[in-house]
């Protein structure tokens, strides 16, 4: 078991997708495709951030744990930790 934090990934990934979705649109060069590129960036950022958020929230407070074979448990006990 490795102790992670919840806050660090939250901040990291939220800033990452915020960069993609909020900051990057200002740097798109002017041209006929500007509107389309900005829309794509924003939509990508929203979709990917939402997907990541759902994955991390679903595991935040688990109601039950994984069921493992006894061989696996033995192996994990001595090799992973």
């Amino acid at each position: 078991m490795v102790s992670h934090s919840l806050a660090l990934p939250m901040i990291c990934f939220t800033t990452l997708w915020a960069l993609v979705g909020i900051v990057a649109p200002f740097f798109v060069p002017k041209g006929p495709n500007r509107g389309v590129v900005i829309t794509s960036l924003i939509l990508t950022a929203v979709c990917c951030w939402l997907f990541w958020l759902i994955a991390i929230l679903a595991q935040a407070n688990p109601l039950f744990g994984p069921q493992l074979k006894n061989e696996t448990i033995w192996y994990l006990r001595y090799f992973w930790e």
């Binding site: 102790s3 660090l8 990934p9 006929p32 979709c47 997907f51 929230l57 679903a58 109601l63 994984p66």
Partner: protein, 823 residues
């Protein structure tokens, strides 16, 4: 630039140009590819139009070109790929082309018929040659038979196939008929000869074996040489008739050997001459065809353009007295200047001083829908148009589809290994696009047109694969798992080494301290779940809730987009607000419940099921098990359901009632106006215009409005529920994909990896080949197509029925590039 979010603004323009410069102007416009000509004679049939003769001429020329092309291809002559196009082909060019085509066709036909005649002669000579060669043996045999039969010896054995020697009892001179017949027909021929002559004949036959270099025909027909020996002369007439019936060719064959030899030398000489002539004919034909092939593509392009120009001229109005042609075109407003420039260029080329006039007219007709696309966006626009072309200036779903479609595909496909393969395939298609287009295979063409879609699908699949932590059904452990086994043992947990030995499987308990680290795996699904036996229990719950959340967000996005389609504020209040509130209060609340339950810490046995909570909320049933997620849940839920219930009659009745009131008010106003007009104005003015003054002249039928609004309400409200459930296909397909992936690993590749003997390497090679083939066909092709289809359905139905009408017609400009590329 607005044009991709909505269709472009179009205008109807009247063009006036002179008859002489018509061809050049239309040619220039065709090269520009930005105008659509409107049909000014919609009622007339094709053969009643002005330029129907010219169109027929062009079609005749196309026929000749097709004939030429066929001849060129059958002679295996290469058509050169690149050709220079002159820009203009004028009417007098048409006449020149026409005459040269006719001449070419005549020549070619003559050459072909000559060649066929020569070939036939050659075949005949060959047959005579074979005949003379083989009948030598027959004559010798039969002559020897005859001489032997005159000797009174009966103990000589005759090795003959036929026992029908009717001629043994006499030294009669036998007549004979020699010829060549097709091999299949020979048995029937023999049978009928038997019936005719009751066996009074001798028949000999042998198959012609061709020499290699004499095979001048494409198809070699098996033929037999035969000789029939009979008594008497009248029977030869009968045999001749029989031969005619069987299409057997008869040849005169001299009796004695010397004459035969002479004939053979004769025939050989003639054959030599004929061979030479044939070779020359062939060469001449090839030269003519090569000369024609050099110009073939250019001519085809020219004729196609001419035909298109005449079609277009058929659509215009011809004013013969003033030598003027009037055309009406649909054209994007932003391109008016380039159209004008093209027209000026066209009229300059004919040297006329009068420039064509463009006159923009305002009309009530709906213009066509035009979305300007580039190579990247055209694929997505095509899949939107496949459902329905948007109304004029309606919100275009294509720019949003560019991201959401590959994303929803990726949610269903979610495997980074397969995603990587798909991305590589897309990159290969993009880099070698020319090469693939040359193959001219329909399926490959479809793949190539969608290469950017496939690229995006692959990239997003890699991302969702990383989040699902699934790469060819294996997981990455990049950050270290959040679950710990050690803490389940003594002293912190209930397990001992004995529990481990006694039971096959054990379950980790998150309530024991230390087993779960308290914080989730930072990116994606914890790798511990990949090796867990109850993996599906967790993943199903996670993926179902994910599908509902993504579905509700997608649909809310669609409802927000419909805001862009409302022209006046009234519609916003009457339709948009009730729709939005209804969806938010029910399904937005469901999403809130899911997120709340995830964020809050609860004990497993007191956790209420979200589905049951939702169902009980709709039925106002709070008696059953009292377990609520949060304190004020009951009043909040009652409030939300009541609000949603109020939205339904708002959506159903508000707009029709308002329109009804307006209608009645306007009728009253018109009545008043008519009274005023009647008193102030004179009779004749009233007779001229007995119509009311309001702008819209349509009759509003109240029944229709109510029914339409009722249908819309029912569709929307029931649709909310069924569409949310429909998004569960995101869960279903990703589950299927993951399970298939795992089956391929466990039952195909793992079997070979576990073999420890020496032959294991060979087995592994074979098994890996099987694994690769199955992965590509089942997981990439089949699952890919399946996920593509379902993502498309989600867009076409669940997303677009919130805002998209899709009942427009597409802008189809006169464009020579598109026409020539479509071949």
């Amino acid at each position: 630039m607005d044009s991709f979010f909505r269709s472009e603004e179009m205008c109807l323009v009247q063009l006036f140009f002179q008859t002489e410069s018509a061809h050049n102007c239309i040619d220039e416009l065709g090269h520009l590819g930005l105008v659509q000509f409107k049909d000014l004679h919609p009622g007339t049939a094709d053969f009643q139009r002005r330029f129907v003769k010219e169109v027929k001429k062009c079609e005749e020329m196309e026929r000749i070109l097709r004939f030429l092309k066929k001849e060129v291809i059958t002679s295996n002559i290469l058509i050169p790929a690149d050709f220079t196009t002159e820009r203009i082909s004028l009417p007098r060019d048409v006449l020149d082309l026409e005459s040269s085509f006719d001449k070419l066709e005549q020549e070619l036909k003559e050459i072909n018929s000559n060649r066929d005649t020569l070939r036939q002669n050659f075949t005949q000579l060959t047959e005579i040659n074979h005949l003379l060669h083989m009948t030598d043996d027959f004559f010798v045999e039969v002559e020897s038979q005859m001489t032997i039969s005159e000797l009174p010896s009966e103990d000589s054995v005759y090795s003959s196939r036929r026992a029908s020697y009717a001629s043994t009892n006499g030294s009669l001179k036998l007549g004979f008929v020699a010829g060549v017949i097709k091999h299949e027909r020979f048995p029937a021929f023999e049978k009928i000869l038997w019936r005719l002559f009751h066996g009074n004949f001798v028949l000999r036959h042998a198959e012609i074996k061709p020499h290699q270099e004499e095979n001048m025909e494409e198809v070699f027909v098996k033929k037999d040489v035969f000789v029939v020996f009979v008594q008497g002369d009248q029977v030869r007439g009968k045999i001749r008739k029989l031969c005619d019936g069987f299409h057997a060719s008869m040849y005169p064959c001299p009796n004695n050997a010397a004459a035969r030899k002479e004939m053979r030398t004769n025939v050989n000489m003639r054959m030599e001459d004929l061979r030479l002539v044939l070779k020359r004919t062939e060469e001449f034909r090839v030269t003519t065809l090569t000369a024609a092939a050099a110009n073939l593509r250019e001519w085809t392009a020219k004729v196609k353009k001419m035909k298109a120009i005449y079609y277009t001229l058929n659509l215009c109005n011809i004013d013969i007295t003033q030598k003027l042609i009037i055309a009406e075109i649909w054209c994007p407003v932003s391109d008016l200047s380039s159209v004008h420039a093209a027209l000026i260029k066209g009229s300059e080329q004919t040297g006329s001083s009068v420039t064509p006039i463009m006159n923009r007219i305002h009309t009530q007709q709906t213009p066509p829908t035009f979305n300007r696309t580039n190579v990247f966006t055209s694929g997505f626009q095509n899949i939107i148009d496949a459902y329905g072309v948007g109304d004029y200036q309606e919100i275009n779903p294509a720019p949003y589809t560019m991201v959401t479609f590959p994303f929803l595909f990726a949610v269903m496909f979610g495997d980074c290994g397969h995603g990587l393969l798909m991305t590589l395939l897309a990159v290969w298609l993009i880099l070698h696009e020319e090469h693939f287009r040359k193959l001219k295979n329909e399926l490959v063409d479809m793949l190539v047109s969608g290469r950017y879609i496939i690229l995006l699908m692959g990239i997003y699949s890699i991302y969702t694969g990383l989040i699902y932590n699934d790469c060819f059904s294996k997981s990455f452990n990049l950050f270290g798992s959040s679950w710990s086994v050690r803490h389940m043992f003594h002293p912190q947990g209930p397990w001992t080494n004995e529990t481990l030995h006694n039971s096959d499987y054990l379950q980790l308990d998150p309530l024991v301290s230390g087993v779960y680290s308290g914080n989730p795996y930072p990116f994606g699904i914890d790798p511990m779940w990949n090796i867990a036996l109850n993996k599906l229990l967790f993943l199903n719950s996670y993926k179902m809730k994910m599908s509902v959340i993504i579905g509700v967000v997608h649909m809310l996005f669609g409802v927000m987009l419909s805001l862009g389609n409302y022209i006046n504020f009234k519609d916003v209040v009457l339709k948009f607000i009730p729709e939005l509130v209804f969806m938010l209060s029910l399904f937005g609340y469901l999403t809130f419940l899911i997120l709340y339950k995830w964020c809050v810490v609860i004990k497993s046995d007191s956790a209420p099921s979200i589905l049951l909570l939702f169902i009980n909320m709709m039925f106002f049933d709070y008696s059953s098990n009292g377990a609520m997620l949060y304190k004020t849940q009951k009043p909040v839920q009652i409030f939300l359901v009541v609000v949603a219930g109020v939205m339904v009659p708002w959506l159903l009745f508000a707009k029709p009632l308002l329109m009804y009131r307006e209608h009645k008010q306007s009728k009253l106003v018109n009545h008043l106006i008519r009274i005023i007009k009647g008193t102030l104005l004179q009779q004749k003015y009233q007779n001229d215009k007995g119509e009311p003054l309001e702008k819209s002249k349509e009759k509003i039928s109240m029944g229709d409005i109510f029914v339409y609004q009722g249908i819309h309400t029912i569709e929307y409200c029931l649709g909310c529920i069924s569409n949310t459930a429909s998004y569960l296909r995101l869960w279903a397909l990703s589950l299927a994909h993951a399970e298939l992936s795992e089956v391929l690993w466990k039952m195909v590749l793992q079997v070979a990896l576990r073999v420890t003997s020496g032959m294991g390497s060979v087995l592994l090679a074979v098994t890996f080949a099987t694994f690769a083939v199955l992965t590509v066909t089942i997981l990439l092709v089949m699952e890919g197509l399946s996920a593509f289809l379902h993502a498309l359905r989600l867009h076409w139905v669940e997303f677009q029925n919130k805002f998209y009408q899709g009942s427009g017609y597409k802008f189809s400009p006169l464009s020579f590039d598109k026409m020539l590329n479509m071949k």
